[in-house]
Subunit: 249 residues, 2 copies
Amino acid sequence: MSGWLKIAGLGPGAGVMVTPEVSAALAAATDVVGYLPYVERVTPRPGLVRHGSDNREEIRRAEAALRMAADGRRVVVVSSGDPGVFAMATALFEALEAGDAKWRALDIQVLPGVSAMLAASARAGAPLGHDFCCINLSDNLKPWALIEKRLRLAAEADFAMAFYNPRSMSRPEGFVRALAVLREACGPERLILFARAVSTPEESLRVTTLGEATPEMADMRTLVIVGSSLTRRIERDGEALVYTPRSVA
Amino acid sequence: MSGWLKIAGLGPGAGVMVTPEVSAALAAATDVVGYLPYVERVTPRPGLVRHGSDNREEIRRAEAALRMAADGRRVVVVSSGDPGVFAMATALFEALEAGDAKWRALDIQVLPGVSAMLAASARAGAPLGHDFCCINLSDNLKPWALIEKRLRLAAEADFAMAFYNPRSMSRPEGFVRALAVLREACGPERLILFARAVSTPEESLRVTTLGEATPEMADMRTLVIVGSSLTRRIERDGEALVYTPRSVA
């Protein structure tokens, strides 16, 4: 088999945040596979077939990519941000493990990218500058009770927290509950950031407190960061900067 | 003031993982500032002054960078990986907050990079593919009791865990204790990865279990990842792949 499969992160949105390693893989590919809006970020060219598919099609998409690579094609599976953070790498390995044994001999590589949480953190300052955790707030694939348990333990550990998939049309109540749990566990003064579509023309950033935060401040394109008890705000003309110090007294 | 200050992530080591955004900043800079081995990753050119300094000089280095930017220079402060994860962005904001009030008017931007933990995760498969936390194991700036508390709470939350600065010459006993705490909290079968100098010529990756892990497997260039209870290993010719599934039953 001369095919290969690379699972690549396109970064948060801006072309200047795509690594040269990922650009080179896309330039060498015969096929690019992924969620339609991400596939559309790859410039069309002769010799490249773009296979865009719907959300929640991750396993079928992964199987199709593995099959094409086994057929000798050079396949790049694209994710937004980093492919290893709530993205296609895990789905690909689930399909690999459950699938055709000969797929295990394939040349498979994960190409990291600038994750949404790191882009959001950079945009705001350095809120993830000390110990932190990263939680997917979607309860599609795990029970809500586990999400709530993790929120409470993360607050007890005094981690800063980055949240993916805070809110969708189909389950708006989850984020309402998450905010209530966090407010109780961390208090109303705790800083919270809503970073939407960072590095794209639709980018926005809002810095507020848990006491002032409302569920409508987040949508599916928003990365939410809650500070630790030490996270601070530097006021200045224009936008405040938010960071978490390195030292714990 | 026409100067500016950008705090940029050089990624884990390979030039192909430096974003075009960071490369453009370095091309436009008059000064690059950072820990000597990172500054040396920036190719010298006429018109660029490279200011390399020692480890543990973060605040003095940050102040020097802020002063130069206030003097109208175009300054890039470089970190390895991402600048917002246990790196220079936080030190810079500490110096900014404590320093000359006019520094707050400076044009300051953080340019994210591919972090060591995401590069290590990509190299191994997708061990951080589900909820995870990220902890600095150095007790230079926080008490050991807090590190141990965070390890226990992270285990209770069943997070995958990424550890920075697992082990230094000056405090080798910390990682011995961390492994003991983790073995007790997660059991001996739990997967652990030692990813050293990922994407450099000295790269190595070792996948084992907490029961088999020894402190000598880590040094200051090693990123350590401990899986959640669901993290799995796909055996195959050559190297195993390690990933954490998306679903919790």
